[in-house]
């Protein structure tokens, strides 16, 4: 009976195993992801709106959220500029070492974040390779918000490069030739014909890099110095509240961040819908 109804829900197919596969998928998804996330939402809801708001609007929480969001935004913008240049160079030009560079772009995906964190700290600390060059000028990177920015640029770069790369690769040369034959110079072709076509991919890459940066923890905490109101990120504040066994505090901040992550997913889906409409498919 239940089986018959289950079959009616899908289009008929000769292949077996639909019920088993979907049943396992939904069960596993619920147990690992949905129920735990629901527990978080439930816990946040039990605080009541005023309880939730008291925690989220506390000065230290607001400061941490501001540090996380502002620096993530800046880092994602830096990644857009350099990520598009890197994607462009890797797709359009041939030069020695290109394939090595292409492979190394994925390093932030593969390198554990804690390792990235201590390595960046070693480089940008006062006695580090770059820190010691900047120190005579009074510029400090490690243990300041700048250090957070460096870590977030590191962590977000592949998102922009890897979303822009395939779109640029599929871009038809005929369109460039058409623009040129209609009298556009190269700069006009690039900025008024090509970049607008790449815009959905660039925005998606930006949103992915931004979302990853806001939630990033491992690579940041070593280089940030973690001074409240100055270089303390929101994920760290969650950990601090948990260590104080302040579950309400941790949950409220987490719920606020989760809500913003949902907005980012929504934004990405809207971009993709817009792109599909624009391509008319």
């Amino acid at each position: 009976m239940a089986g018959a109804r289950g079959l009616a829900l899908k289009r008929p197919s000769a292949l077996p195993g639909f019920g088993l596969a979907l049943g396992f998928t939904l069960t596993y998804l619920s147990l690992i992801v949905l129920i735990p996330l629901a527990a978080l939402v439930l816990h946040a809801a039990s605080l009541g709106f005023s309880g939730f708001w008291d925690i989220v609007s506390a000065p230290r929480t607001l400061a941490a959220l501001r540090v996380s969001f502002v620096i993530s935004l800046i880092a994602a913008l830096i990644n857009v500029v350099f990520g598009v240049i890197v994607a462009w160079v890797l797709i359009r030009y041939r030069f020695p070492g290109r394939r090595l560079l292409d492979a190394i772009v994925d390093l932030p995906f593969a390198l554990p974040t804690a390792v990235a964190g201590i390595a960046l700290t070693a480089i940008y600390a006062r006695n580090g390779w770059i820190g010691s060059l900047l120190d005579p000028y009074g510029i400090k990177i490690a243990y300041t918000p700048w250090g957070i920015g460096v870590a977030l640029v590191f962590i977000g770069l592949p998102f922009v490069v890897r979303t822009v790369q395939p779109v640029l690769e599929d871009f038809e040369r005929e369109i460039e030739e058409a623009a040129a034959s209609l009298g556009a110079n190269r700069r006009q072709t690039v900025f008024r014909v090509m970049l607008p076509a790449l815009l959905p991919a660039i925005l998606t890459g930006f949103a992915l890099a931004f979302a990853r940066a806001v939630g990033e923890y491992g690579s940041v905490i070593f280089i940030a110095g973690n001074i409240p109101f100055f270089s303390e990120i929101a994920p760290l504040l969650i950990v601090i509240r948990l260590e104080e066994f302040n579950y309400a505090g941790a949950t409220a901040i987490a719920a606020a961040m989760l809500f913003i992550a949902f907005l980012v997913i929504l934004f990405i889906n809207l971009i993709q819908a817009w792109q599909r409409r624009r391509l008319g498919s």
Binding site: L15, L120, E176, G215
Partner: protein, 294 residues
């Protein structure tokens, strides 16, 4: 008789070429920018790990990684990956079979939900399990009365790792299997193969390289995860410390040489992952649909 002088000939040629590419100086500047940026932000940290690790020489590295707490951390990391990766592999196969081979309502929502863990901060991925199974959590009192410990113990670390590596295999398999359609399977079934034989002998060989691709990425994240695991682990030396957590402890004790020595092992794992990944992309590009989409 119009004879174009040599100099003008060259200009005309350069102009023809420049229609779909930039001029030499621009090209050179862009390549230089990209190389400088990647060197500064990606290569330099990688070199730094090994350079800091080998400051104390091979002996120092060996001492740091053969010390009992480090060995315990390695064993735990391997154990956690050995559970989390196969679990997500089986899930990836089931999910991609259901999503790619059948049409049913709610499919795109399911696809979005599978990617959900990638949008969640690692810290929150750990927190959700603390809220469920921690002492003050929903199941905390019951678990305590039964004498089962999940948070600050290995099961919590495994759960948090499964959460953060959840989408890796599924997101490689779903687009590829969608592209391949159901014709091969229908042919096998019509020739008398059983459902299991069809899956084992037709579907699985069709996706094996994408499967391996997803598994190595999943494994790299499983072994390297820090934030989520840090929240649920409790940092008990020799018991609930994975390798990344061990790196943190050594670093916070100002034992930098040892921290970088253990970190260099993890960096080596990252390099091996990249080499296998690139190898698969070069050799089997057509059989890994997701290769360009990360």
């Amino acid at each position: 008789m119009s004879h174009v002088p040599l100099g003008l000939d060259f200009i005309a040629e350069d102009r023809a070429r420049s229609v779909t590419t930039e001029r030499h100086p621009v090209r050179f500047a862009l390549i230089l920018t990209a190389v400088a940026f990647l060197t500064l932000f990606l290569l330099l940290p990688l070199f730094a790990v090994f350079s800091e690790a080998f400051r104390a020489g091979f002996g120092g590295v060996w001492n740091a990684i053969s010390e009992p707490d480090a060995v315990a951390a390695m064993k735990l990391t391997l154990l956690v990956a050995a559970i989390a990766v196969p679990a997500n592999l089986i899930f990836g196969l089931a999910a991609s079979w259901a999503i790619a081979k059948f049409e049913f309502p709610g499919k795109s929502i399911l696809n979005t939900l599978i990617d959900l863990p990638f949008s969640v901060s690692p810290v929150i991925s750990g927190l959700v399990y603390v809220l469920l199974f921690g002492l003050q959590g929903y199941f905390g009192p019951w678990l305590q009365s039964e004498g089962i410990q999940i948070i600050f113990a290995v099961p919590g670390i495994v759960l948090a790792t499964i959460f953060v590596t959840f989408p890796f295999v599924a997101r490689e398999l779903v687009p590829l299997m969608q592209e391949q359609g159901t014709q091969d399977e229908e042919a096998a079934l019509s020739l008398g193969a059983s459902g299991f034989q069809t899956f084992w002998r037709v579907t699985l060989p069709n996706v094996k390289w994408a499967l391996l691709y997803g598994v190595i990425l999943c494994n790299a994240r499983a072994m390297g995860e820090f934030g989520a695991v840090s929240v649920v682990s409790g940092h008990i030396r020799g018991k609930t410390n994975t390798m990344p957590l061990h790196v943190e402890i050594l670093y916070n004790e100002y034992n930098f040489a040892a921290a970088f020595a253990v970190a260099s092992l993890l960096a080596l794992l990252a390099l091996v992952t990249l080499v296998v990944k690139v190898g698969l992309e070069w050799r089997y590009a057509g059989q890994i649909a997701g290769a360009n989409r990360h």
